[in-house]
Symmetry: D2
Subunit: 107 residues, 4 copies
Amino acid sequence: MGHEQHQELIRALHECMTACNHCYDACLQEEDIKMMTNCIRLDRECADICSYLEQAICRGTPFSAALTSVCAEICEACGNECKKHAHDHCQRCADACFACADACKSA
Amino acid sequence: MGHEQHQELIRALHECMTACNHCYDACLQEEDIKMMTNCIRLDRECADICSYLEQAICRGTPFSAALTSVCAEICEACGNECKKHAHDHCQRCADACFACADACKSA
Amino acid sequence: MGHEQHQELIRALHECMTACNHCYDACLQEEDIKMMTNCIRLDRECADICSYLEQAICRGTPFSAALTSVCAEICEACGNECKKHAHDHCQRCADACFACADACKSA
Amino acid sequence: MGHEQHQELIRALHECMTACNHCYDACLQEEDIKMMTNCIRLDRECADICSYLEQAICRGTPFSAALTSVCAEICEACGNECKKHAHDHCQRCADACFACADACKSA
């Protein structure tokens, strides 16, 4: 991974982690929370793996190939779920998830 | 994953996390620390992914297949490194790593 | 912290982390999820700090006093919330939280 | 915590986590690693609490007062250790740690 790809990946992971935690927090306050349970679950899964990978990349993990691959899978699943919901926080989260999945796949 | 496999996986992850953190702590106190740098690195990688996966399994993550696969890879790498060193903490850590890799692959 | 207190603390943290993640997962499947939102939030807070502290204690953190104090606070808050709900998973989680708070305070 | 303080805290935590992981990775490659063992330990402690707190703040944790307080303590300890070493990565890490401790105390 070149220095620029590394920086871009860190940035994408950080934005995705932020967006997922914000969406998680907002979903728990929605009136239609019953419809948001998968979104709440996937937001946490996605925030946790992005946060994990961010640290791993920063410490020069030798396992970046396997970890970016699983992170891309989780980001896509979370993005697909968020995309279904009209709430602004869900739509913004979906965008961050898809951007992060792309950054993981290019890393 | 059946209930028994689930319990066995949680147990193996917990023991591996414990052994890796103990080995990390002990390596940092060894006289021959220069020879232990890969062990220190891999102990942290392995402790972190085991701790991560333990929580993910406990909350019913939908990504257990991908996560157990990457965890098995990291456990094996850590076990192979620890196996090279005669220190008791390294040998015990290697055993915990290989047992955890097996539990991940059977999950 | 003596060796027995150390082992007891690790055990209590592990059981609390497990119970909180199970309660989190179960709350997200409850019919009355609207009433469970604080429980979902606190289960995650508590699972995350217990998992964090477990690793920190295992690696001989020099910050155990400050970390066990904040963990006890979070465990008590989660236990108090869970105690309000009749669901079995909430009652069991409350017990694990209070036991863990006690272990943190005795450490 | 106002919106600007929140943004500033997230930024400081992220930069401190990045600097600590970079310093950890670089210390493990130093010739004088024997002198760097406390730095390696504290870099990990500090990276882990900053990463933890970043997520907690982003999801609106109700425990921000207790968590920022313990994070400030750990950042200061890590900054004080790093400050002793002339390596560029240690000096840059010390700066990030002290800035993060300040952000935690103002939050």
